[in-house]
């Protein structure tokens, strides 16, 4: 199957190889949560809710008294994929992605400022079309910024792959299930540091460098967009408050 048309150079959904899907972000969608966000990357739609900092509920989980405990739960809604028969959480993939998101966000939250407290991040996939991991991290960043939790920097994530000898940015589900390599990168945008790097399948080293660089550029573009959303939200809140 030709994922990149040899004549036009376009992909199956009409994008160019280095073009990302349409992004859309919204803050404050869950009123009960301290911070929440809805993030869309093309057809992938994800909602994140953050509760915290609050009192630790399970003392047994509290490892370190000097830092906040960060908990994360990733689940997919039953209706998010093509066939409905899916166990929403507790299966291996969900546990792995919960761990990945938790480690990524923990690296960027200033946990030492909130000892003996707990921050809960809940992410749920409403519509899955490839790149759910990245969309979840981006939504979690927006939700944490909405909750006012101190962070080192904005964490953004994007995936890239390599099909038909072309590096492709932001794979959708069809391209992801093609069997080619899928590199997911998470970076701290302004500080230019990598917090997440995952890949399945194999790639020669120089190709890997190209694909990773492409993913990093995608992350920076998302960071730009996320920053605009956060600024717009703050201005709107100030306007409503009358200042």
């Amino acid at each position: 199957m030709e994922y990149v048309n040899p004549l036009t150079g376009l992909r199956i959904d009409g994008r160019r190889p280095t073009e990302m899907r349409h992004l859309k972000g919204q803050i404050g969608v869950v009123s009960k949560a301290d911070g929440s966000a809805l993030f869309e990357m093309g057809n992938t739609r994800v909602i994140a809710a953050v509760y915290g900092p609050r009192q630790v509920q399970n003392k047994a989980q509290q490892m370190n008294n000097n830092e906040a405990l960060v908990r994360c739960e990733y689940s997919m809604a039953n209706f998010s994929t093509g066939d409905r028969a899916r166990k929403p959480k507790g299966d291996r993939r969900s546990t792995e992605i919960s761990l990945v998101i938790r480690q990524t966000m923990e690296a960027c939250i200033l946990t030492k400022l909130m000892p003996r407290s707990q921050i809960d991040i809940f992410v749920q996939v409403l519509q899955a079309d490839g790149g759910t991991r990245s969309a979840c991290i981006n939504a979690a960043t927006l939700a944490l910024a909405d909750a006012g939790i101190p962070m080192r920097d904005i964490v953004t994530s994007c995936s890239a792959g390599y099909l038909c000898t072309t590096p492709l940015l932001d794979l959708n589900y069809a391209e992801d299930s093609a069997g080619g390599p899928d590199v997911t990168v998470g970076i701290l945008a302004k500080m230019d540091k990598v917090t997440l790097l995952q890949m399945d399948a194999k790639l020669p080293l120089d190709t890997f460098e190209t694909v990773m660089q492409l993913a990093i550029e995608g992350c920076k573009a998302i960071a730009q967009y996320i920053r605009e959303i956060i600024l717009q939200n703050t201005k709107q809140l100030e306007c409503r408050r009358g200042s």
């Binding site: 962070m151 302004k190 703050t234």
Partner: protein
């Protein structure tokens, strides 16, 4: 390859000072990082860690350091947290032989987002004759009390005190269900049945 910190972001992009996490605020040699800002790992720049407006405060007079403090004022109001010395309104949940447990609901006239646990010990109920205090004649479960936070207490609860005239039970229900009226600093009366019950009553003006 990916270790360079970009320090050339212009301070005050777009002409206003709303900042997002990670933005460069100033050099560490010119500013001290206040609330909402932090010093980057290489120790040379101060960056924001919250979303909000930048606020620069002059250095306090008489200090050796003449760097200004830069702070970020966030837009979300966080819930109140009890501090030692603050007056709280709490609802009594359990009364035992030597102490009473209460759930703190308001701190200094601001309601809390999530309730905190407080404990009133026998010696903190009143100022006089503290060893002869009968907890059951001072509080009952369901009473609303005004108390003073003594300290952060142990891991389970804040330590509260009602050992002042204006502290103690402000509202209580009698056994029959009516809201009682205070008649002295140790007694309250039910308006439905006329029955008198013992409480440590607060003197409300």
């Amino acid at each position: 390859m990916v270790g360079m910190v970009i320090e050339r972001d212009s301070v005050g992009e777009e002409g206003d000072d709303v900042v997002t996490p990670g933005e460069f605020l100033g050099k560490a040699t010119d500013f001290i990082a206040g609330k909402g800002a932090y010093v980057s790992p290489n120790g040379r720049s101060v960056r924001a860690c919250l979303t909000g407006r930048r606020k620069v405060t002059a250095p306090p007079p008489g200090s050796n350091d003449n760097r200004s403090t830069i702070e970020i004022v966030g837009h979300k109001a966080h819930g109140a947290v009890p501090q030692p010395g603050s007056i709280v309104i709490a609802r009594v949940t359990k009364v035992m032989a030597r102490n009473a447990s209460a759930d703190i609901m308001c701190v200094d006239s601001k309601a809390v987002k999530e309730k905190f646990s407080g404990i009133i010990r026998q010696q903190d109920v009143r100022a006089t004759e503290i060893d002869k205090v009968d907890m059951y004649q001072s509080f009952r479960p369901g009473d609303i009390v005004r108390a003073l936070v003594l300290s952060l207490g142990d891991a389970r609860a804040y330590y509260l005190s009602t050992a002042k005239n204006e502290l103690g039970v402000v509202s209580a229900h009698s056994i029959s269900g009516g809201t009682m009226v205070p008649i002295s600093w140790t007694e309250m009366q039910c308006p439905l049945t006329g029955q008198i019950e013992q409480r440590k009553v607060a003197k409300v003006d």
